[in-house]
Every structure is written in C-alpha cells, then in structure tokens.
C-alpha cells in the first residue's frame, strides 16, 4: 500500500495527485458490462447520433468512478470516504485524454473526526470542467 496521508499533513488549497484517463470505446464496453448499464449511447455510434449526440459518450457513472478514484487514491487505506458528488455538465467522448483533478477545500474537526472537504473534477483536453464534483473524507491523525 502507498504511504498514508495524515490529517496534519493536509493543507487547504493543496492539490490532489491528478490522474490521466485515456478512455477508449473498449473501456466503455467493459464499463457497460461491469455496471450493467447497456444504454446504447455509450457504444452504438448510430444510436448516439440519432439522439443528437456528436459521438458515443462516456457514462456519467464512469466519470463518477474516476472522481471516486482520485479521492480513494488520496486518502489511502487509512482514510474513509463519507460523501461523493458528481454533476455531469458536459459530455466526454472516448479517444481524447481527460484529467481527474482535485483540491483540498476545507479542514475541520467534527465530532472528533478529522474531516477534509475536496473539490474534484474531470477536465477535458480543452481545459473544460465537464464533471465538477466534491468529496468529504475523514483522515487518520498522526497522534493515532
């Protein structure tokens, strides 16, 4: 397991380690199978075009999974994910890189828990935040 991040080490404004995602049409089919979401706009180009879409598009829930990944990577084994939000504002298409990014927004201690709130988002290669979101986590303390 990777090194554990502790509450004391985290600062507001700190960036979460980003993840590059090169989503392929093959991955969309894998996600359809793994999630059971077989809506054709995610793998059938003609169907997508008949629905006014420019191409097949990424499942919103797959982008939600990407946002989950940056947070679970960041908090490590010792942290706990409490809330995860994702809004699908823009469409993402396969074949171009996208970047999962995040920043620590706020630290607080609530009911004895070390709470960290983060803004997270998926950014396309043009710099547009297609999928803004947020996460609330608790982190372990160095004091134990």
């Amino acid at each position: 397991m990777a090194d554990q991040v502790y509450f004391e080490d985290v600062e507001e404004g700190q960036e979460l380690p980003e993840i590059r995602k090169d989503t392929t049409t093959q991955q969309l089919v894998m996600y359809a199978g793994a999630s059971g979401d077989y809506y054709q706009i995610h793998y059938d180009l003609n169907f997508a075009k008949n629905n006014n879409l420019p191409d097949v598009i990424l499942h919103g829930a797959l982008k939600n999974a990407f946002l989950g990944q940056i947070v679970t990577n960041f908090i490590g084994e010792g942290g706990t994910l409490k809330k995860l939000n994702a809004q699908y504002r823009g469409m993402d298409v396969p074949g171009t890189p996208a970047y999962v990014k995040g920043v620590v927004k706020k630290k607080s201690v609530e009911n004895g828990e070390n709470i960290v709130e983060c803004d997270i988002w998926l950014e396309n290669s043009e710099g547009t935040h297609t999928t803004p979101g947020s996460a609330t986590v608790s982190l372990p303390s160095r004091g134990g």
Partner: protein, 153 residues
C-alpha cells in the same frame, strides 16, 4: 413559445413510493471486474492478499460499485414521455464498506420531478434516492441521482 407541462398527476403520484426491494449478492470477481473497467488499480479493490493485510481485512468495493446493483420493480411506475435519457449526476453518502459475500438489498423511490427548458429543448428532471442495505440491516450507502429526459429534435 410556452411549453406545456409533461408532468402528469400519475407521475406525481409516484413520488415517495418506494420500489420493491431486490437482493444483490456481492462477488469478489464482480468487484475486480468493476475495478478493471474503471481503470482503478487500488489494491483494496483488486488484490486480495494486499487487502487482507489492510485495516479492512479483505477486498472492498470501489465507491461507485453499487451502480452495478438493481432495485426491485417500482410499485407505481413513472415513464417519461421523452425517449432520450441522460444521467445528470449522483450524490453519494457512505456509511459502511461493501465486501465480497455481502447481500445488499436495494430500494429506490422518486423524490421529486420538475422540468425546464435546456439546450436540448424542454428537459424533464427526475430525482431518485436509492438505498443500499446489507445483510446486517445496516445502510451502507445512499445514492441520489438526477435523471434527465428530452425529445430528440
């Protein structure tokens, strides 16, 4: 041009009516397959040996794995008049990890419905809440989703 409302009394009658429950079994293979599909190599979701040494004592599911689970059929079904659907987003609250061997009972209900004009014409928004309860009667997670439907021009 004023758009006539497509929200009917039948649709409103479905609000807050919980679906039938459906039990979903969590398999280790399904967790690993899901982790592979989302491109997440976290050992907690992929590597039973490494996960056993973690504080969880074994594999756990990635946060959005619950998307692979279904609720039972609606008691009062609500159909959008529009054929095209988009997912607007999800809000998750997590309470307990999901592990292989868990039996998760899923129920869902429509919590609100509204419409407004958008870039694809009149858009109908349906907000649903889905509850995931494990075999110990513990709520492991709640997901609030926004479904958007519209008429392709």
């Amino acid at each position: 041009m004023t758009q006539e409302s497509v929200i009917t009394d039948e649709m409103r009658a479905a609000i807050n009516v919980e679906s039938e429950p459906l039990v979903n079994d969590v398999e280790a293979g399904a967790i690993k397959k899901f982790a592979r599909a989302i491109g997440d190599t976290n050992p907690l979701f992929n590597d039973e040996e490494a996960a056993r040494k973690s504080r969880y004592g074994g594999l756990i599911a990635p946060p959005t794995f619950l998307r692979s689970m279904n609720s039972g059929p609606a008691k009062v079904s609500v159909e959008s008049p529009y054929p095209a659907n988009l997912d607007g987003g999800s809000e998750w609250e997590y309470f307990e990890p999901v592990r292989p061997g868990d039996r998760i009972t899923v129920t869902t209900y429509l919590s609100s419905i509204h419409e407004r004009p958008g870039r694809l014409g009149n858009m109908l928004f349906m907000i649903r809440e889905t509850k995931y309860v494990n075999q110990y009667d513990t709520v492991v997670a709640i997901q609030r989703t926004t479904g958007i439907s519209y008429k392709p021009s």
